[in-house]
Symmetry: C2
Subunit: 164 residues, 2 copies
DNA sequence: CTTGACCTTCCCATCATGGGAACCCCCATC
DNA sequence: GATGGGGGTTCCCATGATGGGAAGGTCAAG
C-alpha cells in the first residue's frame, strides 16, 4: 500500500506520515524499487494509534513514549497511567486558564452596552482604568494555539449584542 | 526611558517590544543619537494595554484592532463588544474540546489498574480495541500550545494512581 | 580607561502542520 | 508506443508568539 492509501486508511495525512518518519516517531517505511514508501496493515494500525493519541492532545514526544509502552508487552500499566494522568492534569490546567480568560471577558462584555456610543468597559479595562482584574495575570506566553484560516473570524455574528 | 525600563514597567519583554514594533503593532519608537529606542509614559501605557489583551488570550491581529478602537474616540462600543464576544466564543469552544479530551482520558485512566501488570485500557483504546470513543474526533490539528521547558513534565507525580 | 550593564541587529529554534515547486513513476487509454 | 493524469519523492518556506544567543556599539560609574 502506498502512502496515500495509508493516509486515507489511518486518518494521518501523507505529509505528516513523512514527518513522523523523519523525526523517528515511526520506523522508516520499506520502499519499492522506485523509492515509493510501502505500508502494511500493521503500519496503518500504528498510524491510527498515533492519530488517536494526537486526538487526545498528546504531544509527539509523549506519543513516542506511548508507542514504546504499546510495543512493550511487559509494560507496567502504572507507567501508562502516569503518562495519562499527567496529561489530564495539564489539560485541566489549560482549561482552567482559558476559562478564566473567557469569564473575565464575558463579564466585561456583559457590561458593555454594545451600541453606537464609545463608552466601553472592555476597552477601559484593557487601558487599565481602575481595579484591574486582568492585570493580575503575570505574563502567560502562548496559551492559545494557532487557528486554521477560514474559521469564520471576527466579522458578522455578534450574538445577543444590542441591548445589554 | 530605555527599552529595558519600558519592559519592566509594562510587563512586556524587550524582545517582544521590538517584535511588536517590527510587525507594526505599535508605532516605531523614537531613538537617541546612538540608536537606542526611547519610550514615554504613554508608550508604556500602550504596552500595558497590549499585555492585558494578550493575557486575555487575544491574538496580535485582534490586538491591532483593539488598539485602533482604543485610539478612536468615536468608536462604537458595539465594535469592541463584537470582537470580545467572538473571542469568548472561540475560547469556550477550545475549552470544550480540551475538556472532551481530558474527560475521555480521565475516564480511561480511572479504569486502569495502574500496577505492574501490562493490561491497560488506555493503551487498548489507543490501539483501537473496541467501540472507540476517541476514533470519532476527526483530525484536530494543534489544539495544544507548546509548553515551556521545565514545567515538571512526565516524571514523578502520579496522584492517586495505585489502587484504581 | 576599564568594566559591566545595557542597547543594537540578525539569525536560529520552537511545535505540528500545510503549501508548493521541481521532478520522477506507473497505469490506462488512444 | 506516446501521452496524460494522478500518484509518488525531496526540499524549502510559512505559520504565531516567544526566547536564546552572537557580534558589536554605548553609556555611566569607578
Amino acid at each position: 500500500m502506498n502512502i496515500g492509501d495509508a493516509a486515507r486508511a489511518s486518518g494521518v495525512s501523507a505529509k505528516m506520515i513523512r514527518y513522523y518518519e523523519g523525526i523517528g516517531l515511526i520506523p522508516r517505511a520499506g520502499r519499492t524499487e522506485a523509492g515509493y514508501r510501502v505500508y502494511s496493515e500493521q503500519d496503518v494500525h500504528s498510524l491510527r494509534f498515533v492519530r488517536r493519541a494526537r486526538d487526545l492532545g498528546f504531544s509527539v514526544e509523549q506519543i513516542a513514549e506511548l508507542l514504546a509502552l504499546w510495543r512493550d508487552r511487559d509494560r507496567a500499566s502504572v507507567d501508562v497511567k502516569r503518562l495519562a494522568s499527567e496529561h489530564v492534569r495539564v489539560l485541566e490546567e489549560r482549561v482552567a486558564q482559558l476559562l478564566q480568560m473567557a469569564e473575565t471577558l464575558r463579564h466585561l462584555a456583559e457590561h458593555c452596552h454594545g451600541d453606537e456610543r464609545p463608552e466601553c468597559p472592555i476597552i477601559d479595562e484593557l487601558a487599565g482604568a481602575g481595579n484591574g482584574t486582568v492585570t493580575e495575570a503575570p505574563y502567560k506566553p502562548g496559551l492559545l494555539p494557532r487557528r486554521k484560516a477560514g474559521t469564520a473570524a471576527t466579522a458578522g455574528s455578534a450574538p445577543a449584542c444590542h441591548g445589554d
